[in-house]
Every structure is written in structure tokens, then in C-alpha cells.
């Protein structure tokens, strides 16, 4: 079955970001297809490569990047939510005159249409939030 995943909260602050990951992993293990993971609201903060969590804690960003690489996941960060919160890739940095970017490996920035499309393409859309 095709699943779409929506992540509405940032890493560490709310368990939603963890539950979304565990659910996605379990769905893949059961042989389901993940058509997209869409990061919205503070969820966009899962997509920064600048985090350095304590050694004895899980690395939430890295975990998504690795899962994306293993399973060719489409991790989409909402551009409008990302602009409010300071998540940028090289193109966004150039467009807005920023001197740095911070997006993590495996994530891409795109529009809200990608959320609607995930809802259309997936058999089930599951949202994790606060």
C-alpha cells in the first residue's frame, strides 16, 4: 500500500518527529511504499544539517537522511514554512541573499502542492504533530 507521511513538528521538542520516523520505518519493513514524507510547520526543522545532538541521544536528522538513502525516500520540506524558520538550500540562499545554507542530505525544498499531491497519490496520508 502507498503511504504519505506528514511531519508537523521539529526534532527533539515533540515526540511527533520520532513517532513519524518509527512509523515510516515500520511501514517500509512491512513492504509498504512511502510516496513522500512532507515536512510542514516546525517539521521543516528536521531538515537542517547543523544539529549536533548529545552523543547518547538519537540523531534525528541523520536518521531521516539515512532512511531516505536506503529506501530512496522523497523528503520534502515546505518552502513557505522553511522561509519563516530559516531552512534553506543553495538555491533559496541565493534567491534571498543569504550567505549560508543548512539543508541536510536527502531533503529537498518544494511547494505546498507536494502535500496535496501526496494526499492524492497515497492510499493513506498519516500526519504526526502537536
Amino acid at each position: 500500500m502507498k503511504f504519505g507521511i506528514v511531519v508537523n513538528e521539529g526534532p527533539y521538542t515533540h515526540q511527533a518527529a520520532d513517532t513519524a520516523y518509527q512509523f515510516t520505518k515500520a511501514a517500509l519493513e512491512k513492504g509498504h511504499e512511502i510516496v513522500r514524507v512532507f515536512f510542514y510547520h516546525d517539521g521543516v526543522n528536521n531538515g537542517t544539517r547543523l544539529t549536533t545532538p548529545p552523543q547518547d541521544e538519537r540523531n534525528i536528522v541523520k536518521r531521516w537522511s539515512e532512511l531516505a538513502q536506503q529506501h530512496k525516500l522523497d523528503l520534502v520540506v515546505c518552502v513557505a514554512a522553511a522561509q519563516r524558520r530559516g531552512i534553506v538550500d543553495r538555491d533559496e540562499a541565493k534567491r534571498h541573499g543569504k550567505d549560508a545554507d543548512n539543508i541536510a542530505a536527502g531533503f529537498r525544498i518544494s511547494g505546498l502542492g507536494q502535500l496535496i499531491e501526496a494526499g492524492v497519490l497515497a492510499d493513506r496520508l498519516v500526519a504526526f504533530g502537536d
Binding site: Q15, K25, A26, K30, D130
Partner: protein, 101 residues
């Protein structure tokens, strides 16, 4: 049928109350994250949850029960426990998911 998920403590937020008001009789409700506290015996909301279980199938996520130190032998009678894989199965078995935050 909808699958309803709830992730907020019933002692802190009204999410579970709204779910219980709006979920159709016969629905399945999955308690995750801080909502798993609703599944315990001996709380002030025990009778409300027991009453609700006559109308709904209620599940609780095992990993969240364990994380919070909630023993399965202190769950309300009839609460079903699932792991993340069981969560995935519940989503697959229902037409649509409604997440009550």
C-alpha cells in the same frame, strides 16, 4: 471507517474528549505518545474511558506505554496493545486516518 489517533494526555488537553465526541460508534481509536496514560486503571477518567470502550475499539502503542513505565497488567480491561508494525496495520485496515492532536 476512520482510524482515530490521539497523542495528548487526557489530563492536559481536550483532544481525547473531542475524539470521543466525534468518532462514530464502532470506530477504532489508537492512543499514542502521551495519550497512552488514558489506558491506565485507577485514574479519575477511568469510568469515562471504560464507558467509551463500549462504543469503540481502543488500542495503545506498546513502545509509548513502556517508555512511560506503564505496565500492561495495569491497563484497563479490553485495551489492545500494538507495536509500530501494528500501528501500520491499523492504518492500512482503515480508509482514512484522523489524528487528534
Amino acid at each position: 471507517m476512520l482510524l482515530h489517533t490521539v497523542n495528548k494526555s487526557p489530563f492536559e488537553k481536550g483532544s481525547l474528549d473531542t475524539c470521543l465526541r466525534l468518532a462514530k460508534q464502532g470506530s477504532t481509536i489508537l492512543l499514542i505518545e502521551d495519550a497512552v496514560y488514558a489506558a491506565m486503571q485507577g485514574t479519575v477518567i477511568e469510568s469515562k474511558i471504560s464507558e467509551a470502550m463500549k462504543r469503540y475499539s481502543v488500542y495503545a502503542l506498546q513502545s509509548d506505554l513502556k517508555a512511560r513505565g506503564l505496565d500492561e497488567d495495569r491497563l484497563l480491561n479490553g485495551i489492545k496493545v500494538v507495536d509500530y508494525g501494528g500501528f501500520v496495520d491499523l492504518v492500512a485496515e482503515h480508509d482514512t486516518v484522523q489524528s487528534w492532536f
